[in-house]
Amino acid sequence: MSDQVQKILEIADDELILGWRNSEWTGIAPLLEEDVAFSSIAQNEIGHARAWYELAARELGTTADELALDRRPDEYRCSRLVELRLVPDWAATIARHHLYETADKTRIAALKRSDDPEIAGLAAKIDREEAYHRMHAQMWFERLQDEPRFKTALDELRPLLDVRDEHSPGLAELWEEMTMVRRSVAGAVW
């Protein structure tokens, strides 16, 4: 696997897993507006994951669904930050949202300058959508930045951003949920 495909899988896995984690707020967020916001952000992230998986799948001779759902939990390349189940901790959820969107901005900016026109084009398209995620994260950062619980969560979560080789038990549990339907019907084509 080339470095480039490896990098694309990292992003795709981050977006897929974070999309699932964000969707856990659907129906139970502290405000109705945030129910809508986190559901919408989750939907966007999973759409981005699919687009990146499709690019990687062409290089690897497989399909987006197989990459997203047929690998074992220890084969995922996502950051440990996105794996954690943070419901019902809103302060930690916003801390992760802020840390992730800040790091993702840098990564997307670099991909927009890629020599590969497909990667650069997709990154630019995704960046248009991510601009709204960043605004949402910024709005909550400004509101919570002086709260002790929020500051503690930032300090605890920040070191997890670059951990990709070691997964938490939370990822295996999420993987069970995420792939349950697919695994239950042998040979089904979705």
């Binding site: 919408s40 939907q43 601009a131």
Partner: protein
Amino acid sequence: MGGDDDGAPVGRGGSVVTAEQVWDALAEIPDPEIPVISLVDLGVIRSVDVSREQVRVEFTPTFLGCPALEVMRDAMAARISALGADPQIDVISDDSWSTDRITPEGREKLRASGFAPPLPRCAWERFSGRPDEPRALLGGGASAASAPREVGGPTLVQLQSNAFRCPYCGSQDTTLENIFGPTPCRSVRYCRNCRQPFEQFKTI
């Protein structure tokens, strides 16, 4: 209309249909989530290429997570098949779609049905971020030529500004209720003048 009928239209190079006929047919397909506008109004069709019995359409999606994309693609294929041609719909996931591709007719149809159309990207790209500026900028005022900012759509300060017009009464006395809305492409705003919440198409 069968492609091999004597009466079937024959385009240049012996094609069963012309590109104009394909564009007309695609202009009749409503957006699955906002049916007041068509796929042509929405600007998601980048090109139509007709060669003999095959019609190739380049389809540039709106939001990548939008569940309407498959519905749009299948509806286009069905319309082209009904014209007697063989459809090939290529999904182009590059940066070619932006809300600036929505046609003037599409924007007016959106506004008339209560969706505030997206502000043009150029409005934001010339805007330095002072909350009082968009009114002047969009109204053709004097303070528009400020320092250029990074190209990339609006910022939070701008979303919280008074650049957005209520689609019902036209007032600019509107506030941001939620950056996100019922679908990825929309925000929710509230008009303080006519006391009506409304959906604002995001600029992307």
